[in-house]
Symmetry: C2
Subunit: 420 residues, 2 copies
Amino acid sequence: MAKKNAFYAQSGGVTAVINASACGVIETARQHKAQIGRLYAGNNGIIGALREELIDTAKESAKAIAGLRQTPSGAFGSCRYKLKSLEHNRAEYERLIEVFKAHNIGYFFYNGGGDSADTCLKVSQLSETLGYPIQAIHVPKTIDNDLPLTDNCPGFGSVAKYVAVSIKEASLDVASMCDTSTKVFIMEVMGRHAGWIAAAGGLAADSEGDGPHIILFPEIAFEREKFLKRVQRCVKKYGYCAVVASEGTQYKDGTFLAEAGSRDAFGHAQLGGVAPTLAAMVKEALGYKYHWAVADYLQRAARHIASATDVQQAYAVGKAAVEFAVAGKNAVMPAIVRGKGKRYSWRIEEAPLAGVANVERKMPRNYISADGFHISDKGRQYLQPLIQGEDYPSYKNGLPVYTRLKKVLVQKKLKKAFKV
Amino acid sequence: MAKKNAFYAQSGGVTAVINASACGVIETARQHKAQIGRLYAGNNGIIGALREELIDTAKESAKAIAGLRQTPSGAFGSCRYKLKSLEHNRAEYERLIEVFKAHNIGYFFYNGGGDSADTCLKVSQLSETLGYPIQAIHVPKTIDNDLPLTDNCPGFGSVAKYVAVSIKEASLDVASMCDTSTKVFIMEVMGRHAGWIAAAGGLAADSEGDGPHIILFPEIAFEREKFLKRVQRCVKKYGYCAVVASEGTQYKDGTFLAEAGSRDAFGHAQLGGVAPTLAAMVKEALGYKYHWAVADYLQRAARHIASATDVQQAYAVGKAAVEFAVAGKNAVMPAIVRGKGKRYSWRIEEAPLAGVANVERKMPRNYISADGFHISDKGRQYLQPLIQGEDYPSYKNGLPVYTRLKKVLVQKKLKKAFKV
């Protein structure tokens, strides 16, 4: 096999551990210098390839690359950009091939979620469709945990741990003051289409009466009266009520609560927030003092409280991607497979990319309790191992040491610029 | 000195480390059994004394008490309840004396902020005013960092660390995607009257271009145009703009941004949130894609990322309070005194409670940069040491192990109930 260079890009919403995958890819590529020459990273994702903005990872020290393992966000920059189909934008694919050819790129590692898997699949077919030989390997990443063929997605375990720890702490706070102060606390979490992240909050409740008492999932149609009744019951029984609400919480007709009809004095739709919407509902109907939090990016960037299991898996899929590549594979994704034993174990296996692209894995209904307000034992069994272990970054002056790369761009070889 | 029992209560908003102070009080009291008999804790704060709901701390194991050091919230329950003056509610003071007398209480430890210091001072005067001999020691606690005579307040360092770490992480997240996605991120933090907590966010920016780029303090009158101009400048210069906004951000006339005039379709004042208000402003004027977060209770409950300095100081003030008591002192507060050397050091000294009660310490103007949008070097110098060190709780099944006490109530001795 002739020695080829490789291209790696981060895609879509970043996570606390996507850089751990980058670390796995780069460190492993450095161990296969006979097959892989230079490893270039796209500056801001696939856009970097289209613009011929290639970061030369060889210019980064071993220490800097090792530091990626403990650094959240996308160290090379990420983007929200989906390649259209070959029929709709042939120019993009031709540009990719131009750039790949100019830089002798024969390996394509794409680190992202469902949309990115689709892009990766299209790239894997460039040999067939446009006659350019390339091996494309998808490196799974998404806090949404919605990729098929893998037991879970790197990125999810850490946001899950953040949400479970945060609602545990906030619930204790509210519990200790509910006699004379706040009675209802609502924490809004990410997950517009699926309740995986909200479900993770349920792990904090391991004894009767613990918060969160209520979880609102996008999968369960929201019913105002039923919700308010449950809130009231909790306050009467436990003195307070802690709620985890998915940003995707919606009515039966699919209307998101966050968008449901309220407008400000100027007629603008009131700014998002399932949490403030629910809080207003509670206040109006029950009169309880409330507080609410919206974690937003804090949850997916929270490397300081990452799950050790998640970090290990993120690194492992990066490493496996390179190993698959040097083994000559194409159009595959390293998937996480859960062992069958009672004690949690996992291993990496190869999954066909065609089965991953554009398929969204839903949360099984039986992970949610029968009444729709919490996780079931089955849900807990699935989620629990994913938040196992702590993997603290190193600190300096009281703050985590997060790696900044030099990001030296390779000299352009093409004369034409490409407008993205 | 005849052996007396002691009373301890937690007061006001709880923190990540108020239980570390409780731990200091209880462990130290257990070492002074010759002077201190039983140590009772108020169930839900001072209300527990009025209702004669006294928790017998002797029923808690040494392990449970040690566990308090790593447990956020108020383990005995706290309350928002300020005793009126003797003239306005003599009955409350008489009730306190009845309860104290019935349980032979001669020491009063009150763990709270400014209002609580006032209550503690009043209790310290019961000997004079109502002829009941008691020693009252205030144990400082407040995330607001607004007590005088102490260099800083236990509770503040941990919320400061949470805010600095969180905005550092979220800024990296935004930076890595701003090319095609969110350009402005706004994180709202606590501190209605003072910008101490918002200021702590500034610690995350240690190199040119780092987030946060803008901090909004209650101390600096908000000017819409100036703010928007600064946001635009940041986006043009760095690609994105990360903002930390105090919940107390206000216009020159004292109107809070969070309350400024917007009403929903039903005419209700739009629910709080400086962050969403600012986000709407940015969107309308500049059209940038935005995200916002409101950390709310998550920030003050975040024991998982507590400052080790803060935990040590919280424990130390609890310990010193008991030592002051057995030394015969009354109407004092253990204060944290910063050493003069270049390297940060601190010690505990005694401060007169009369100088603490009802005095609010403001953040010095020179801790804020000249343009009003960031912290100054002087501010950084003050804040930096307070977030030093990590003090992780122990974990089980991926979640922190937070202590739950048995909270066994002492048998009531009074026949009359007291309605709070």
